[in-house]
Symmetry: C2
Amino acid sequence: MKRVPMKQERSQVTRDRLMRAAGEVFARAGYEAATLAEIAKRAGVTTGALYFTFEGKEDLAACLIEREAEIAYAAAQDALSRPGEALESMVRLSLDWANLIMTDPVVAAGVRLILECPDLLKEISMPYTHWVSTTEELLRRAQANGELSIPIDTSNIAFIFTSAFVGVDLLSGAVNAREQFITRLHVMWRILLFGVTDQTKAPRAVNLLATVAGST
Amino acid sequence: MKRVPMKQERSQVTRDRLMRAAGEVFARAGYEAATLAEIAKRAGVTTGALYFTFEGKEDLAACLIEREAEIAYAAAQDALSRPGEALESMVRLSLDWANLIMTDPVVAAGVRLILECPDLLKEISMPYTHWVSTTEELLRRAQANGELSIPIDTSNIAFIFTSAFVGVDLLSGAVNAREQFITRLHVMWRILLFGVTDQTKAPRAVNLLATVAGST
């Protein structure tokens, strides 16, 4: 006998479908141009059902940003607990996150909405500090391992690395070259890793990028 | 006898005051929260006079972005025609531009609106390609002078350098550390220049940053 879903399960299904549809519409059209009618239609629900689940456009956008932050946090925790080399984990995390930006509409929308609606963030923790602290922790491990050769503290390096990633994401989208995102990130890491490690040793950055690329 | 300004001059004065006031309001409040009433009040004109000069909020924002692009273009041309060393010109241009972002409300608003209202850009040339091509030209000169040691073409390096600057600007504002913007840029250049020049030679990047800092 086919099991009939409980009311609570049904509303969770509706919520998930709306989040996904909203992600697709916000990611493509941006906050201003996105309409609730299109989101409801794409989710296959009525606008009434949408208003039963979310208070409106601002609420939906805020929920997407929050969900994106949760996914980002989980990805970062995963990178921190992964065994192996710190610099490799750092590069891998950035490539994994780039892939999520390109394939998960909730993540793509979150990244776009953070830029377009900074006011929605007021009640949410700051979006980039979390990436900076994850990067800093990985850099600290690399430093403890004697891998950094630059006399700049890891929190400052982490700020620059995170900024560079956000900038590459932004410019790859802005100049309609999203498909080049991953290639750009390889160039970015080549420069950044050469900038903080000892070039006179083996070409560490090149080997590391080859390792990461070879295993994905 | 006191000269009475011509009608055309008067309307240019009104336009300039409105642009400045709009710059201040958009830079602080963002596109969504900014109101035409506040802009008119701050410019000391009636809302009617505002509508006589601009079609509305979107038009004002688009004009600010356009004006910011003109100022950016002039700054870049100035850097390209300045005699002296290419890498030094590149670093100096970034610091000059950072100072304009922090002191000129039209520039500050333009930079913010480009992020918040990407749709307004459709009829305007892309905002970042111009920075990439200026940076590329300066890197080409440095390369011709044998100063780059990395086997990556200058257009790719220029894309990463521009991305890093945009990211540092964004994160410095996003985490309420705008006052640290210039310090962050010094760290950024320390890493980026180490990443593309030969570290076994004199600490080129350090000297260059000291030169730029010492003369401003």
